[in-house]
């Protein structure tokens, strides 16, 4: 009997590839502890190696884009906006190895690296757009400190502590301004208690943790101005952590 025709290679837009890619993106976001959630932008390549009946290894090359949701945000990925090109987009390139056993997907390994769009490309399209700045830039650090102090001085409770700076952009023309985004966590102090001894304030234990996110913009020239907006997510019941296995994620 003639040999069965070879299976046509899986296409990058086939439903099976799409399902595997979405599974991989959820895994990547679920195992990331810093920065922002990423959304699928393009499946660059897919390769399937059969291991036997109903047992395939899938290799995916994925092109992701950063969203505006911090990784600690409870917002579902589907509701997270992909950062626009003019906001100085950040792209993630991921190689993911999955196993599909009896129709059930699992990630065996994943490796990602992210990089911002080139400043030249952005300025070519938008000459006055602010560019991403280094997170340890002195103006960035000063803006985050000023914004957090401003919020804590106005909010009665709870005193917020900085978790991490997510992103920062500096504009030099036509005005000189710094805009920052940072993640915060509630402490066991009220603002009044913190006034006395902020060093004694502790982050809440995990079963009461309350994370949040702040955006701030500081005008430096032609005049000084500061606007801050902090939103706490409220206590989130932590998702059951996936069973530790030999999965290699870097």
């Amino acid at each position: 009997a003639p040999a069965a025709p070879p299976l046509s290679p899986l296409g990058c837009d086939d439903p099976e590839s799409e399902a595997a890619a979405q599974f991989a993106v959820n895994y990547i976001n679920g195992h990331s502890h810093h920065g922002y959630k990423f959304a699928l932008n393009r499946i660059d390549n897919v390769r399937v190696v059969s291991q036997g009946l109903n047992n395939d290894i899938m290799y995916l090359e994925l092109d992701l884009l950063e969203t505006t949701c911090h990784i600690l945000s409870p917002t579902p990925l589907a509701n997270c906006t992909v950062r626009s090109f003019t906001q100085h987009a950040v792209e993630g390139d991921c190689d993911v190895k999955l196993q599909k056993l009896d129709g059930k997907l699992s990630v065996l390994a994943s490796k990602c690296h992210s990089h911002a769009d080139s400043s030249e490309d952005l300025l070519h399209v938008c000459p006055d757009c602010p560019l991403l700045a280094s997170l340890n830039d002195t103006e960035v650090l000063a803006t985050v400190t000023a914004a957090l102090n401003d919020h804590n001085s106005k909010a009665a409770h709870p005193y917020l502590q900085l978790l991490e700076i997510g992103r920062a952009r500096i504009q030099h023309h036509p005005v000189h301004s710094v805009s920052v985004e940072f993640a915060v966590a509630a402490t066991n102090c009220s603002a009044a208690e913190a006034k006395g001894n902020a060093g004694a304030c502790q982050l809440l234990p995990e079963d009461q943790s309350n994370f949040g996110f702040c955006t701030a913009s500081r005008l430096l020239r032609p005049s000084e101005d500061l606007s801050v907006d902090c939103q706490l997510y409220g206590h989130q019941v932590p998702a059951p952590s996936p069973p530790r296995s030999s999965q290699d994620t870097s």
Binding site: A39, N41, I43, D44, D63, A89, E91
Partner: protein, 39 residues
């Protein structure tokens, strides 16, 4: 003398006749579609 043929007529003559039942090749399987924008 060179006579300039009408483009349509020339194109008609130059068009390579396609064999009956010609099926254009499928689009390459990868890379896939871009969902947002490419940087």
């Amino acid at each position: 003398p060179m006579a300039k043929r009408a483009v349509a007529e020339a194109a008609q003559h130059d068009k390579v006749p396609r064999p009956v039942g010609f099926v254009p090749p499928p689009p390459p399987p990868c890379p896939g579609k871009i969902r947002h924008f490419s940087i």
